[in-house]
Symmetry: C2
Subunit: 600 residues, 2 copies
């Protein structure tokens, strides 16, 4: 990390702690790694984030938002593959028992040792470190053995073993219902697919969405808000026909150029490189698989820019085949450049029909959609001939069961039971019978299919930290003066009232002004402390309050106040009566302070 | 339950299921008791609830909202008393192992058997059933033994034992960090008290707030959304000086009359009765302990009315001393009348200084506030005389430690170590020394105190179910036509566009109208199905959409549409260009449809 980045990060973290943006949870009890509490400023940022997010996605795209259970039965996550595959590889110090994530341990070793090697070996070490995500258990164990990698305490390590990242719990008093805290919000959406489709008037495609907590029992979380054990996420599941992934609104935005990071098929190097191109070109070249995936990449990019992430700090990276989650067939990460390097903040995965299929198979509850075929298809099928009269006289009260059993025979079963070209022998309700079979041509007008799922998945804490990082700066004239340049829409507190000094004559004005602003739905603080106006401006800047309203002695006469903008420190004089409507427009970003300034 | 209530409940639950308001979680996997998923309609209701709630409480009262961890270490909940006391009494069928909540089992038995008894015994049984909340383990076991109460399968029951209602989990890979899912959001607020006070400029009183999931491993949850194992709650912790619980805004609302349910001190009966009185009177008579408690009761009442709960369906009941939580000194429940009788939806507890004290004691991290005394107090105190010079030459490099040890001596310790009126003998860093003591008069200008906490705690799912119950009705002219009369602010979807029939000429108007409405931040559906307009109106009414916009052939000419109000079914003709602004005012409840109607 370069010095400037390190300095900025330290300053930012000081301010974030002092002004209670966030803190480690349960600090007075010694703290627990991987858990953070959000204070009032961060919590308000988060609420504003969600409000803009719901507007940008749920409202605009007519998504069906659902709120589903966190505690999830073993069986559900067994079907989804999480019980088996949602693991990290760990190994432990054989003496102290301290546990390490194997890939992080090996990567850190390689990067550390690279410094002491000659140029050739150095490059080899760095290259291996960069590829660490693609190594499996054997490769990592191989590297530990080859280089004799030890624990931080220089002790031998235990063999690498997988560790499931889900938190366990038991539901009910009998100890039988083993469950997990969900590791993602997606499963609750998949399980409700049928109701959602019905709720959408059986129209495809459509998307559901969930905002909620998810949990991952990380082995040794370290990098602050980026690797946590409990986190708020927002996930969209867009259900679409697997062969019809065009998107009606794609053309609207497809010319926007985006920084895509991928390896071109014919490139000489194994490394990925940034290619700035329109999504239109990316889809046409087959780099991004389809329009729907491309559409969501664009919309995510637009969202991040809207909340205040600089365009230059965003890149969109395609997953290597080896680093994809077990359910994904293609995945793009939207990464943001931060104090910790490029960090995955939104993952946009094509989960294909993996999840809906496995749940259908397990429960027998078919999670499918239907569509009318423009050209009917014909299917040939061999079935058992059902002679109802004959079966009736043979099985009497059991006849219905016999008919159902015959109708349920699959083609494979019929093939196995064939005794001639036209006959099968089967056991029906305990009795062996011989029955005719026939070949049918079935004309299908309706196709039943398992939808594909395109999933944009947002790590909210990560994005908020990235936003703090990019909003934070220090005034040139005074390095004690730091500020967060949040957009008015995102700013935790929108304005603050500052009486020039303590004076009873201000009381009524201040109180009624504050009430009016709050009644307009705008958050408003009041700083009546004895600190100088300059000091109080700085304190407001420090938590990113965009507008300060100063009440002075002139106010008593002319009913005007001073409105100051945070970043520019520019001030205008404005009538008290205009404050609520002006603030409303500023906060909704319908007007800029600049334009107000020019008007005056 | 009377027939009409039962019928209405069944109809409501049919609609709620069919239109996906909520469903049991993991239904296709057999479902898990006590877990519910909220579909798009209920989820939108919940979001609207939270937005009004934040406006009514957090914004208006300048509360500090925080978002803290769900997974909570054992030690924290040990201190708070939950490990020991957050239990329900259970017993099991000794043959099948089925588990019962002991109080529910006994109550159900008493109510069932009461029917077969003579009048005197009947009354005794019912009276005992009504007092069930006040019975402890011994009393309940006594009743089971006395009446020979059996399980549902007529088997003997195991002895009653307490069952802790918190879900367990383990953090990290070593299996050492036993933790719980929080049973309430309060502890996270208490543990951050110091940072919050600092964030509030050290000004008291103030309130923090949290909206988040909490978890209770109920023994056998049954009554739908009212007893669930995972639920969203909103909690406010108002921190205040224990002897200064007046509230500056109390007078503003104190004349509002509220239905309070309590037992008057001199009443003959043990039963509580409704007394409709102003909060002013209730506080003056000492029925409600203090203004702050009273203020929050009023504000909660106003909030419930604002979101659409009828005033007549609300009552405010004082807890019996025996039913209060272990941390509470006084508690009032705001109850709403529902299909299941009167249900606690908001609890307003005075937790006194219980929580802040226990955490301070456990961690040594003092959770206290300070205030300047108007009249300084004088305190007499005996202390050890610290002769720094002497200690310096005696202990040299250890001198500082010796000084600290002397200064840390409490009065009790000094009393015990006295060897004369003016001297004590103590062991200091392994050496016995004799040192002087002196009596000081300490004048205190600042008082350090542990604040009391007033806590309004909202069960959001319960309130939403109560709201469904009170909003649901059936049109007199057609019992197939049910509707939810949500207020425009609460309604999940605000409006729907209905083209009179399928016609290409409508497409452009519909699309652009919908876009404009959505751009104003108003949720808007579209029903282009072939069903008749009447049928589509009914479908919209069924999920409580307040406004239907019908596009017909006249629209093509006059650019006017029909705007229909749900409850009255009244319609007006309005220009398309006026729709967004009119809807905005209607949804914000700035104008009523009635007034629009009159204007025309």
């Amino acid at each position: 990390m370069n010095i400037k980045v390190k300095e900025k990060r330290e300053k930012l973290e000081q301010v974030a702690k002092r002004r209670f943006f966030y803190t480690q949870s349960f600090e007075s009890y010694g703290g627990v790694s991987g858990f953070f509490d959000f204070g009032p400023n961060m919590c308000a940022l988060q609420n504003n984030f969600l409000s803009i997010w719901r507007n940008h996605f749920v409202l605009t795209e007519n998504m069906l938002e659902v709120d589903t259970a966190i505690i999830t039965p073993f069986e559900v996550l067994k079907s989804s593959g999480h019980v088996e595959k949602f693991t990290d590889l760990m190994c432990a110090d054989s003496v102290t028992g301290e546990v390490y994530r194997a890939d992080h341990l090996v990567r850190d070793y390689l990067l550390r040792e690279a410094e002491n090697k000659d140029e050739r070996e150095k490059q080899e070490f760095i290259s291996k470190a960069n590829m660490i995500d693609s190594f499996g258990k054997e490769e990592l164990q191989g590297l530990i053995d080859k280089y004799g990698i030890k624990s931080d305490n220089k002790n031998a390590l235990t063999k690498i073993a997988p560790f499931n990242l889900m938190f366990n719990t038991i539901v009910g008093p009998c100890g039988k219902s083993q469950s997990f805290l969900r590791p993602e919000t997606a499963q609750g959406q998949f399980l409700n697919f049928k109701r959602l489709l019905e709720n959408n008037g059986d129209k495809m495609p459509f998307a559901s969405a969930t905002v909620g907590k998810a949990f991952r029992n990380e082995i040794s979380p370290r990098t602050g808000l980026f690797r946590v054990r409990e986190f708020l996420m927002a996930e969209i599941e867009h259900f679409v026909h697997p062969e019809e992934k065009s998107h009606p609104k794609f053309a609207k935005y497809s010319s926007i150029e985006l920084p895509l990071l991928f390896r071109e098929k014919d490139a000489e190097s194994e490394d990925q490189a940034i290619h700035t191109m329109s999504m239109d070109a990316a889809v046409k070249k087959g780099i991004v698989n389809n329009e729907t995936l491309g559409y969501f990449i664009i919309r995510v990019y637009q969202f991040l820019v809207k909340i205040g992430i600089p365009e230059s700090a965003i890149r969109i990276r395609q997953h290597l085949p080896t680093e994809m989650a077990h359910y994904a067939t293609d995945c793009w990460d939207v990464e943001i450049d931060t104090a910790f390097g490029w960090i995955e903040c939104v993952g946009i995965a094509d989960r294909a029909c993996y999840d809906l299929s496995v749940h259908s198979k397990k429960t027998g509850d078919k999670l499918v959609a239907r569509r009318r075929l423009t050209t009917p298809t014909t299917e040939k099928k061999t079935v058992a001939v059902v002679n109802k009269k004959e079966l009736g006289s043979k099985f009497r009260s059991q006849a219905q069961k016999a008919i159902q059993a015959l109708e349920a025979l699959t083609e494979d079963e019929i093939e196995q039971k064939k005794i001639s070209e036209n006959e099968i022998e089967i056991e029906l309700l305990g009795e062996k019978i011989v029955t005719q079979i026939e070949k049918l041509e079935i004309v299908k007008h309706i196709e039943e299919y398992t939808p594909s799922v395109i999933e944009p998945s947002f790590g909210i804490g990560r994005i908020l930290y990235a936003l703090l990082w990019h909003s934070f700066w220090i005034r040139e004239d005074n390095e004690q003066k730091s500020l967060f340049s949040f957009t008015p829409g995102m700013a935790p507190i929108k304005c603050i009232i500052l009486p020039l000094q303590e004076d009873e004559r201000f009381t009524e004005i201040i109180t009624s002004l504050k009430d009016t602003i709050v009644e307009s739905g705008i958050s408003c603080n009041l700083d009546e402390s004895k600190a100088s106006i300059g000091r109080r401006y700085s304190r407001a800047d420090e938590i990113g309050i965009p507008f300060c309203i100063t009440v002075d002695f002139d106010t008593l006469e002319d009913k005007m106040v001073t409105l100051r903008e945070r970043d520019s420190t520019l001030q205008i004089r404005i009538a008290i009566s205009d404050i609520p409507s002006t603030l409303t427009k500023l906060v909704k970003e319908e007007i800029s302070f600049d334009s107000l300034q020019k008007e005056k």
